[in-house]
């Protein structure tokens, strides 16, 4: 039996096990195990099986989903569950603008891309160097996370939390390591280091003071101001052109 060569170059190019694809699959594996916890906790907090499945399939942004069931579980009003979940999802708007600049999906692809716009896809895609890897980073991470997260949700909702505590497996540590691993290659110069430290410090400092979801928006605000000031500085002192913007930028 001989395989006929795949004529669809586009697909062949997208579905290759490149570094971006491997990163995406590793992240999807860690994230999906959390889906089991989500499914189990959602049912325990009083949602039906189908409401639980709807949240993972339609909302598909983990932080918001946990916020939604957290409010319901604590006896809060469904309207505040809605508010908390939506506030946490606002960062996805910023991710979407970035991803549009990188990938510019059109038509039906744009509608699918929107649904897959989450922390993990933004992180994996925007740190890649080439356009092809940015596309792979987005689509492979997004589709793997979507399938894994939804499958795990159903498993957790039906079987209960057999991963009693994702923490005891260190899954929360895996997520921390994954985001640090994506940030790391960007920290080759002083300027991104300073910005990263500032953004992280500010996030930690304001976390106890503002509702969940706001610190990420503040970090985005810091990035805008920083980029604006840096661009102006470069314009004002042409001497600094010798070492052009050391923060790597995407197209």
């Amino acid at each position: 039996m001989t395989e006929t060569p795949e004529p669809d170059q586009q697909n062949g190019a997208l579905w290759r096990l490149t570094p971006a694809a491997r990163i995406g699959l590793a992240i999807a594996a860690a994230i999906s195990l959390y889906g089991v916890s989500f499914g189990a906790l959602a049912v325990a907090s009083g949602l039906t099986l189908w409401q639980t499945i709807a949240l993972s399939a339609l909302m598909f942004t983990g932080g918001s989903q946990f916020a939604f069931i957290g409010v319901i579980a604590s006896g809060g009003a469904p309207a505040s569950a809605f508010g908390g979940a939506t506030l946490l999802s606002l960062r996805n708007t910023i991710y979407a603008v970035q991803l549009k600049a990188l990938l510019n999906p059109r038509g039906a692809k744009r509608l699918v891309a929107a649904q897959l716009t989450i922390d993990e896809t933004m992180a994996t895609s925007t740190v890649q160097e080439t356009a092809a890897e940015q596309r792979r980073g987005f689509w492979i991470t997004g589709i793997a996370c979507y399938l894994g997260w939804n499958l795990a949700t159903v498993v957790g909702a039906l079987l209960g939390d057999f991963i009693a505590e994702p923490e005891s497996l260190g899954l929360d540590g895996a997520v921390v390591a994954a985001f640090l691993g994506l940030l790391w290659p960007r920290l080759r110069a002083r300027e991104p280091w300073a910005l990263a430290v500032l953004a992280a410090l500010l996030t930690v400092l304001i976390m106890p003071l503002v509702p969940a979801g706001v610190p990420i928006l503040v970090a985005a605000g810091v990035a805008v101001v920083w980029g604006f000031l840096a661009a102006r500085r470069e314009r004002v002192s042409p001497g600094s052109r010798r070492s052009p913007s050391r923060m790597r930028c995407q197209q």
Partner: protein
């Protein structure tokens, strides 16, 4: 039944927050300042995600085994470990520290 309404409204709102970012006019995104900011944005967002996932607990902050995961992952990265190894080292550090009794 009323909970169903809120579930679907929240799903719709989340999708809207995602889609609206793709509706920004493409012409805005070609501006050099926007290109500059998208570079700073990636760094700031990733740093914030690292901080949030390391310290968040409900609406406050907490110091627990995840700090160990952060340090261990940093060391793995300094030693130029591949991504998947960094992730596993982070998980192992958090799980190991909890075995030792850390929160």
């Amino acid at each position: 039944m009323s909970l169903w309404v809120w579930v679907l409204l929240a799903c719709g709102a989340a999708y809207a927050t995602k889609l609206v970012g793709y509706l920004v006019p493409g012409s805005w995104l070609g501006h050099p300042l926007v290109t500059r900011i998208s570079g700073t944005m990636t760094v700031a967002l990733l740093a914030a995600l690292v901080a949030m996932n390391t310290f968040s607990q409900g609406s406050g902050i907490v110091f627990d085994a995840r700090i160990g995961a952060l340090v261990a992952a940093g060391i793995a990265l300094l030693l130029r470990a591949p991504f998947i190894v960094v992730v596993i080292v982070g998980a192992a550090a958090a799980a190991g520290l909890r075995l030792l009794g850390l929160p």
